[in-house]
Symmetry: C2
Subunit: 316 residues, 2 copies
């Protein structure tokens, strides 16, 4: 097979599209996929100030890179999760990427700012680490974007991620989550807009982009995620994709075209029940928000000497 | 673990229910699951004449057995598909089951009555055998039930079947199929009611019922189905079920409770577009119905000497 656009020798083969591309045509294809996602879903306006959540992995670095290439004013945000050497190396990758380009990278460290880390938080609430991690990211990303005057938070969720989340939501028919699963969540009281511009691109396509553009990312996956449900769903979808290329895209985009709307009402209902958390002001359906409860539990259970003097003892 | 009902030594362990049963309590549990499905979905009235589609496998024989035990007037229908020795053996199993009990078994042979068999039909329309088989069963089952005065057609689809079909429909967001996927399809112009009373029971539970009640079924799976998509989805769900027992039931019943209704309108629209097939009178969205097109193609492509003199040459 030759490059489907210019007939040159191909460097990237895409089974789901039954296509192959040379280097420059691949980069053009990639760029167009992001442009299309942004345009079709009205993710970004040219004047938007965008904050990109950056982990040091291929998805988030590619996202930051392509958004700047497309002309957006985009800064990065790195959240230190305190997951041992994995966090050290991912922070280094994010910082090196930003420094090489002279781009602005905001940094928040969960332990320095909130007094706990993901492993400690998970232990304190007796949930899997991914649960404490997701809760922390949602809170800190939104909070950092709002308090620094950004219009939009962009995350590097790709096609594989979104399809796996969708599978999990569908297997349990989580109607509220299905109503909320969309590449754009519009701004609302207490929430900045959230967008996922990489939703049309697979994990392999992201890796190819980084390799071809020389983006130096951390290949290592988070050690705490090993064996989690989400990765199980990814594997499962990879198995189906292997047999029927294009299944993942048909699953996700079929949902967005013909499924999502039917569940949107459930998410609106949930959102209408929100009010400000008395601790931090973030919208929450309960009394104190999930993140503040996590933080309160985690900062009680970690010995004070281990986290230094920054963190006051939480009152019971 | 002891029998959860009577504390006796258990014979059947059900991981999805985190339960175990002795023989008699298992049979009681099984009966109640069928009763519950029939009652909750209003599948059958006491006076209904029921036709059970019987393949000779565990599901359909168990279904016939339990419906008679529950007091319904239920006869069997065996459709000869012409799939070599597999069909011979499945026919034998169905006939032996009926004869032992003195129950009425109607028989239709695809080749004798319609002039083709499943392998020939599939070849003629260049589709997988399961496609020709499904088309034939849908047509013949409905036709046999109507022309013999039955109120309802009952099929042995179990939880594993339905969950696998649901997964396939959801992966492609086939909204019409999702709207039609229900354990009861009400009677309509040209259609008898169709019910699936085993929808709460897994493949393993069906096998256990047959073993405990001495039902002699054909264990062999259809050789033409090997490697098909549906079996792939079943395997896949078995993999998830292994890790999270109860997933299949949550998936299917979550859909029926919180998903199906949202797609029902799509099925109604499809049904409203139906009109009688000019060849056979069955409802069809197109001109000639799928089954008559299959039959026309198949009876043209099979050499006349191979099917004897019963079948007139189809006019082009």
């Amino acid at each position: 097979m030759k490059c489907v656009r210019c007939r040159a020798k191909p460097e990237v083969h895409l089974r789901a599209h039954n296509a192959a591309f040379c280097r420059s045509c691949y980069l053009e294809y990639f760029r167009r996929q992001v442009e299309r996602a942004v345009r079709r879903q009205r993710m970004l306006a040219p004047s938007d100030r965008v904050l990109v959540a950056v982990s040091g992995g291929k998805d988030s670095l590619a996202l930051w890179d392509i958004l700047v290439r497309l002309g957006y004013e985009a800064d990065g945000l790195y959240l230190g999760l305190g997951i041992g050497e994995y966090s050290d190396r991912s922070g280094d990758a994010a910082r090196a990427f930003a420094a090489q380009r002279g781009w602005t990278l905001l940094e928040v460290d969960l332990r320095d700012t909130y007094g706990f880390d993901v492993p400690g938080g998970a232990q304190a609430i007796r949930r899997v680490p991914c649960s404490a991690c997701g809760m922390s990211k949602r809170h800190v990303f939104n909070d950092a974007a709002r308090s620094n005057g950004y219009d939009v938070l962009a995350t590097g969720h790709n096609l594989d991620d979104e399809a796996a989340v969708l599978l999990g939501n569908v297997l349990r028919w989580e109607t509220g989550y299905l109503g909320r699963q969309h590449p754009v969540l519009p701004e609302a009281e207490g929430f900045v807009r959230k967008v996922k511009p990489l939703v049309r691109l697979s994990e392999r396509e992201l890796a190819a982009y980084c390799v071809l553009t020389g983006i130096d990312y951390i290949v290592e996956e988070c050690p705490m995620a090993a064996g989690n449900r989400h990765l199980g769903y990814k594997e499962l979808l990879n198995g189906i994709e292997e047999r029927s290329p294009g299944t993942k895209a048909a699953f996700l985009f079929g949902f967005l075209e013909r499924g999502h709307e039917r569940f949107a009402g459930d998410a609106v209902e949930e959102r209408e029940d929100l009010h400000p958390c008395p601790e931090c002001g973030s919208p929450t359906p309960g009394d104190v928000c999930g993140f503040c409860r996590l933080r309160a539990r985690a900062t009680r259970s970690i010995p004070v000497e281990a986290i230094g003097a920054q963190v006051p003892e939480a009152t019971p």
